[in-house]
């Protein structure tokens, strides 16, 4: 999906988007200590009630860990400058988020920094 200049302008013209773009409370599921993940996009699932980013994170020894990170709903993200084409398999990204309390390698996304330096706020 193309995201022309108009899309970004339209997004900028909208009222400040809420940062907590959740359909329910996250507090019970995710911790409050932030984490940063640098990895490669495997899949970006553009579905309700939350989008999901699947990514491979490679450590210094070359070992790959598969992460699944939950984001805001597609509708809210569209207003926030996102589209379903914002992340593509193979994209190198940095994810700022919060880890799940009860499971490893699961997180809630707050923002994604793209390889071109753009930072997309998710919620």
């Amino acid at each position: 999906m193309k995201c022309g200049l108009f899309t970004w302008l339209a997004a900028l013209m909208l009222a400040p988007a809420p940062l907590m773009l959740a359909h329910h409370s996250f507090a019970a599921e995710y911790g409050s200590k932030p984490i940063t993940l640098r990895g490669t996009i495997v899949r970006f699932v553009w579905m309700n009630p939350h989008t999901r980013i699947y990514l491979d994170v490679t450590d210094a020894n070359g070992a790959v860990t598969k992460w699944e990170c939950e984001g805001s709903a597609p509708g809210g993200l569209l207003s926030n400058g996102w589209s379903r084409g914002s992340l593509k398999p193979g994209d190198r990204v940095t994810i700022e988020g919060f880890p799940a309390r009860d499971r490893p390698n699961i997180c809630k996304v707050r923002a994604v920094k793209l390889a071109n330096g753009r930072r997309l706020i998710m919620g």
Binding site: A10, M13, A15, E29, N48, P49, G75
Partner: protein, 255 residues
């Protein structure tokens, strides 16, 4: 030919479902929506509440966020339940986690916009949140007798000068007023006073009267922002709701 050129010239806008310039708003000299202009009026002289609006998610977390101690007092059972819900142990029982309707007034502060369509006989609200709709009848009907208990209640409205006063009853008592967990019961009566302060701001003064849960009625005021060019999109909550099994508490049954 000119039309074709216009089409080409504006094709990025026309290609978008959102971002289409809206008509019923005053504009500044440079053509931008004038959000501080006086509120537009409908042909019958009433303020026109029509538009796509976004509430303040501060109240999604805590509807009583602006109240001072003592302005809202819960009955002991309601306070005990709220304190439990605050800890997160009942997170799977929150209707939203189950993709169930947020109810009134919580739906005003979800992070999804809503569209008001106003006619002389009724006001319709299309909520992106959970794809819900609401009919507020202005034709003088009243809720009489036993209604089928519902998540969103039954709404009637009347104009008080420039304010639309909406009364809603007939709730099922299952909704949480916010993520903090302030409870409701089937005795809930919500009064919303909608006043379009200016073109860009819609004030909703909300009174919660639920004598089975709260000592006395209490009132909060929330302000909605106009989103010029925004549209209400589909929100099919059940599409991929994978959080529920990981939330503490029992899922809602009989969904």
């Amino acid at each position: 030919m000119v039309f074709s050129l216009l089409l080409i010239g504006f094709s990025p806008a026309l290609a978008q479902w959102t971002g289409v310039p809206i008509r019923n708003i005053p504009r500044t000299k440079d053509g931008k929506p004038d959000l501080t202009a006086p509120a537009p009026r409908s042909p019958d002289g009433k303020p026109d509440l029509s538009g796509v609006w976004q509430g303040d998610t501060k109240y999604l977390q805590n509807v009583a966020a602006d109240l001072r101690p003592g302005e809202m007092t819960m009955l002991p059972w309601a306070e005990a339940l709220t304190n439990e819900r605050k800890t997160g142990i009942h997170a799977a029982e929150e209707p939203q986690a189950n993709c169930l309707p947020p109810g009134i007034p919580r739906i005003n502060s979800t992070p999804y916009p809503f569209k008001i369509v106003q006619t002389a006989e009724e006001v319709l609200i299309l909520y992106e949140s959970y794809g819900l709709t609401r009919q507020i009848f202005l034709d003088g009907r009243r809720v009489v007798g036993d209604t089928n208990p519902s998540w969103m209640g039954y709404s009637v409205g009347k104009w008080d000068k420039d304010t639309l006063v909406v009364d809603t009853v007939g709730f099922n008592g299952k909704t949480w007023l916010d993520a903090t967990g302030h409870p409701t019961t089937d005795a809930l009566h919500v009064t919303e006073r909608y006043r379009r302060r200016d073109a860009g701001h819609l004030e909703i003064r909300i009174t919660i009267d639920d004598p089975k849960a709260y000592v006395k009625p209490w009132t909060v005021t929330q302000v909605m922002q106009l989103l010029p060019g925004a549209e209400v999109l589909e929100f099919a909550c059940d599409e991929n709701n994978r959080d529920l099994p990981h939330l503490p508490g029992a899922h809602m049954t009989g969904k």
